[in-house]
Amino acid sequence: MKLAVISCIHGNYEALDAVLCDIDNQKAEQIYCLGDLVGYGPYPNAVVEMIRSLDIPTCQGCWDEDIVEGLNACECSYPSQLAEKRGHLAHEWTNRVIHPEVREYLASLPMTLRQDNLCFVHGSPNSQHEYLLPTMDGFAALERVLAAEADVLFCGHTHVPYLRELENGTLSVRVQQPGQGETQRQFTAPLKRIVNAGSVGEPRHGRPNATYVLYDTDTTQVTLREVPYDYKKTCAAILEQGLPPIFAWRLERGMEFAERAEDAGHVCER
């Protein structure tokens, strides 16, 4: 069975439409969405309506949570002060235009979705706000997949797609306790994989194209997809709606320096 996994649409309807067409062309039988349907982009309601109309299983992203719980639902969710300032502007705009039923839908989204040995989350199994960067310590990354009790962990949040394979993980533990002899334990992990779906509507891999992934449950093959679309339409709509022009600038370039997470292990402590 061929699955398509999309994430971080961020109110970019043009990009979503292009990705859905590509998924159709690739003959994927099931789509999963890893959240962040809203925020930054000019069409939050239309994006949510499309996802709902196609009945796509979706987990809640950090932006979806913030729209439901209120600004600063997580005070530590931004990787920099600049990103926070811009994020607040986008939040206020989205919060103003979002339809009540859309807010209700976002509130109903689960944190995690599962299918057999696959687990789908927005950030990590611990938090919608944790960035699983490809440079993250390998053992820490392995822990996230094991914590999800999965063989393949699908995530988004970083806006840059990647596949990370973790093989031959071994650990030994030596325990000493007062009044007891030393004991030892061995731990071995089979192959585990992290698949980051990138971002449909706000890519940061250096090009403006939308990204998502395909996964074949029979062959376990992962395919990272990059889909060109008319991003200039979205950029124009961002400006028309009065959203910060920087959002259009970075969408055109597929990058955002201010929002690079400085702390890969960052976890919301709320």
Partner: protein, 247 residues
């Protein structure tokens, strides 16, 4: 330099005094005293313990204190932070515990507790009540190895001293191998072997919760942990401690 690290006094003043007396008896003087949470609890004289901690006697090391599970329950009860009305406390100890904790820890004391740190980074160690994930995170020798390893990575420390479990243990985590291969849209990078030197999690026991008062001595120069248990009846006075140190 020698550190004494303790946790879980839980209002037990006699047990704390016993530990302080034992610390005074050490041949290698204790230069730093860390209390990693749970000064207060349900059964003891919480205000007396807090006073004793805040007002050390001349010549005693000044305690460096971080918050623990019980302090977080106080913050919740008094609306300082976290969920209101201490749901964790109610779930674990029942509604009676809410009344007891409310009556035995004054608001002024809670205000002081709220100024304490979440943990201490000192040299290559992290001293904390639970873990960097949560004050209620209970690391034990039975915790899955990968979780202990992750706790150390998150802590960014070679040694993580913790107190939540109340147990005394030294757990060395020795990563063997891990091959990591990352594929992006533009390339598949060469596989990388992740290597790590051994690190450890140390449970510092508990002073006043159950059994004999227990704590840990740590000599950073020798990187040596010694487990101390204060012998004899705490109520009657303070017997000599029995060192159980090992490298």
């Amino acid at each position: 330099m020698q550190w004494a690290i303790l946790s879980g006094i839980e209002g037990n003043l006699a047990a704390y005094e016993a530990v302080l007396a034992d610390i005074r008896r050490q041949r290698n003087p204790v230069t730093d005293l860390y209390i990693v949470g749970d000064l207060v609890g349900l059964k003891g004289d919480n205000e007396a313990v807090v006073r004793r901690v805040r007002e050390p006697q001349p010549g005693e090391p000044i305690p460096q204190v971080c918050t623990g599970w019980w302090e977080e329950q106080c913050f919740s009860l008094h609306g300082f932070r976290g969920l209101p009305d201490a749901p964790e406390l109610v779930e674990r100890y029942g509604l009676g515990a809410v009344k007891d904790l409310w009556e035995t820890v004054s608001r002024q004391t809670v205000q002081w507790l709220a100024t304490l740190d979440f943990g201490f980074h000192e040299l290559d160690c992290l001293l904390i009540h639970g873990s960097t994930v949560s004050y209620s995170d209970e690391l034990t020798p039975e915790t899955p190895p990968i979780t202990l390893c992750d706790g150390l990575i998150r802590a960014d420390a070679n040694t993580l001293f913790c107190g939540r479990s109340g147990r005394a243990f030294e757990c060395w985590i020795e990563p063997g191998a891990l091959r990591s291969t990352v594929t992006t849209l533009d390339q598949t990078a060469a596989p990388q072997e992740q290597e790590k030197s051994p690190r450890r999690v140390v449970g510092v026991g508990n002073v006043g919760r159950v059994g004999q008062p227990a704590y840990v001595l740590y000599d950073p120069g020798a990187d040596r942990v010694s487990f101390k248990q204060v012998q004899g009846s705490v109520a009657k006075g303070f017997g000599a401690s029995k060192g159980l140190g090992y490298r």
